[in-house]
């Protein structure tokens, strides 16, 4: 099982919400240690796929495997193996950065000493060590995102899921964040599964890219392969040829509206 170089295997995955088919017969593999990107516009089904892989949503049909295990049947074992940064924040803003990290360590049964040492290393790496005793509600968007990523690494996962990790960040924070993530990807061999709707980001950080639109994967390959397949000279042009739309094509869901409210209310 662990000899298999595919850490994630997804076959004919379907998820419907009432009459909406969010994920429509999706099949792909992710290789151990690679950085894999789901690239697609809003509403393409990226988040829904991540939710199923991370055990918080049941598939309507199809098969899923993470490190040889089924997220539906072996949810606890699967949960030990991944870290996740969801699209929407999941920090406790009334607690300090350190407390957020420490609770995570307890939830994942990380021994106290490791919690302290690795917590310190990660906070220093993500440039949050000086702010460790401050409440998260005093943090900027970029700092919060960095803390969530640091937390996701704390229990040394085999896969790290990042759902639109750079959404709303300035270019400098985006660069910084990717430098650190790619670094850990190289040193710890953690597989990184990210979603994004920034072309340049997928182009730059991902070893392989799956382009997803309307719940279907329309193409998979490295950036170079995608360009070659379509005869396009940029990923942007390749995307346009494959989906017939530009990436700015956005739909607005109930969840998006709730997100806007959340942004207003965030302290």
């Amino acid at each position: 099982m662990s000899q298999d170089n595919r850490i994630i295997r997804v076959q004919h995955l379907v998820r419907t919400f009432g009459t909406v088919t969010a994920v429509n017969d999706v099949t792909f593999d992710v290789r151990r240690g690679e950085t894999f990107a789901f690239l697609g516009p809003n509403g393409a089904g990226k988040t829904t796929t991540i939710k199923m892989l991370t055990t918080v949503l049941r598939p309507t049909s199809g098969t899923l495997e993470l490190d040889g295990l089924d997220p539906v049947k072996d949810s606890t074992e699967v949960r030990k193996r991944f870290g996740v940064v969801f699209q929407d924040p999941s920090l406790d803003s009334e607690l300090t950065a350190w407390e957020n990290l420490d609770i995570h360590g307890v939830l994942y049964h990380v021994p106290r000493r490791v919690r302290r040492e690795r917590g310190e290393t990660l906070l220093k790496l993500f440039e949050l060590w000086d702010r460790r005793n401050d409440l998260v509600k005093t943090f900027s968007g970029g700092m919060r995102r960095r803390l969530e990523i640091a937390r996701g690494f704390l229990h040394t996962p085999r896969v790290l899921f990042l759902d639109e990790p750079t959404l709303g960040l300035d270019p400098q924070s985006r660069n910084q964040m990717w430098t650190h993530v790619k670094n850990l990807n190289a040193t710890e061999g953690v597989t990184v599964f990210l979603t994004t709707h920034y072309m340049d980001e997928a182009d730059r950080v991902a070893d392989r890219i799956a382009i997803i639109d309307h719940g279907k994967i329309v193409a998979t390959g490295s950036s170079a392969e995608l360009k070659q397949q379509t005869g396009a000279d940029s990923l942007e042009a390749a995307f346009l040829k494959l989906t017939g739309t530009t990436i700015r094509d956005e739909t607005f869901s109930a969840e998006d509206r709730m997100r806007q409210v959340a942004r207003v209310w965030r302290r």
Binding site: K51, D88, P89, E94
Partner: protein, 248 residues
């Protein structure tokens, strides 16, 4: 065990850090205590029922515990989308431990809030029979808190959107409070109202607290405790079951 503990501790820390909210949450109980305690006092006395403040103080404590406990669970809805709940839902820990940590934390916060209001009633002139009575009464208050924190977890795990929140407040929490006999004696009620008050678990909670603190229970403290324990077990099971089914 350490998972339950750290999640319980988290709720407690958050409570102790939210001073402004603690003060603000005293408003409603103070209003009831002031307006009703002193406003209805003369009528109550003329009717030969003694001091209304003595009578209503346990009711106002019960109200505080009910509201605080219910709120902790219903806030889960927001938490599920934008807060810490998701972090716990993907942790490699049985969901029942997470549910117990949250629920016990919510219940503890409700008890602390009840303790605060109890202090306020003392200042207003409420006089319990003895110190021992106060300690015993808080055991019952802890049971009330657990019953409603568990109910709130069950409801919070099942709600789909924010409109549900208003529904629960209007059609569950407010009736639970008004039907509980917190504000009026249970003797001689019209038959329909008498039945409704007997279905409300808070009725037994407040009756028990009253029985211990001022020595006049309608049902008897033993029955009150038995009902609270039974309903508590039921709600904890329901809460754990609903919580185990949460998807995000």
């Amino acid at each position: 065990m350490s998972v339950v503990f750290i999640l319980w501790l988290r709720e407690l820390k958050k409570y102790l850090r939210s001073r402004a909210q603690i003060v603000a949450s005293l408003g409603t109980p103070l209003m009831y205590l002031g307006v009703l305690g002193f406003g209805l006092g003369p009528v109550f006395r003329r009717a030969g029922e003694g001091s209304y403040l003595q009578f209503v103080a346990p009711g106002v404590i019960g109200m505080t515990v009910l509201f605080t406990a219910m709120f902790s669970g219903i806030a889960m809805l927001w938490d599920r989308q934008f807060g810490f709940l998701k972090e716990t839902l993907v942790a490699p820990v049985p969901r029942v431990q997470i549910m117990m940590g949250r629920t016990l934390g919510g219940a503890t916060v409700a008890v602390l809030q009840g303790l605060l209001i109890f202090g306020v009633t003392l200042v207003a002139g409420f006089r319990p029979t003895s110190v021992l009575a106060v300690i015993l009464a808080f055991l019952i208050i802890a049971l009330i808190a657990l019953v409603f924190a568990a109910l709130a977890t069950a409801i919070g795990s099942s709600l789909k959107d924010m409109q549900g929140f208003q529904m629960v407040m209007n059609f569950l929490v407010m009736p639970l409070w008004f039907l509980s006999g917190a504000l009026y004696p249970l003797q001689g009620l019209p038959a329909a109202l008498a039945v409704l008050t007997r279905i409300d678990p808070l009725t037994y909670g407040i009756d028990g607290v009253r029985g211990i603190l001022i020595g006049t229970a309608h049902f008897g403290v033993a029955l009150d405790i038995a009902v609270l324990l039974g309903v508590g077990v039921l709600f904890v099971i329901a809460g754990a079951w609903r919580f185990s089914k949460i998807e995000v």
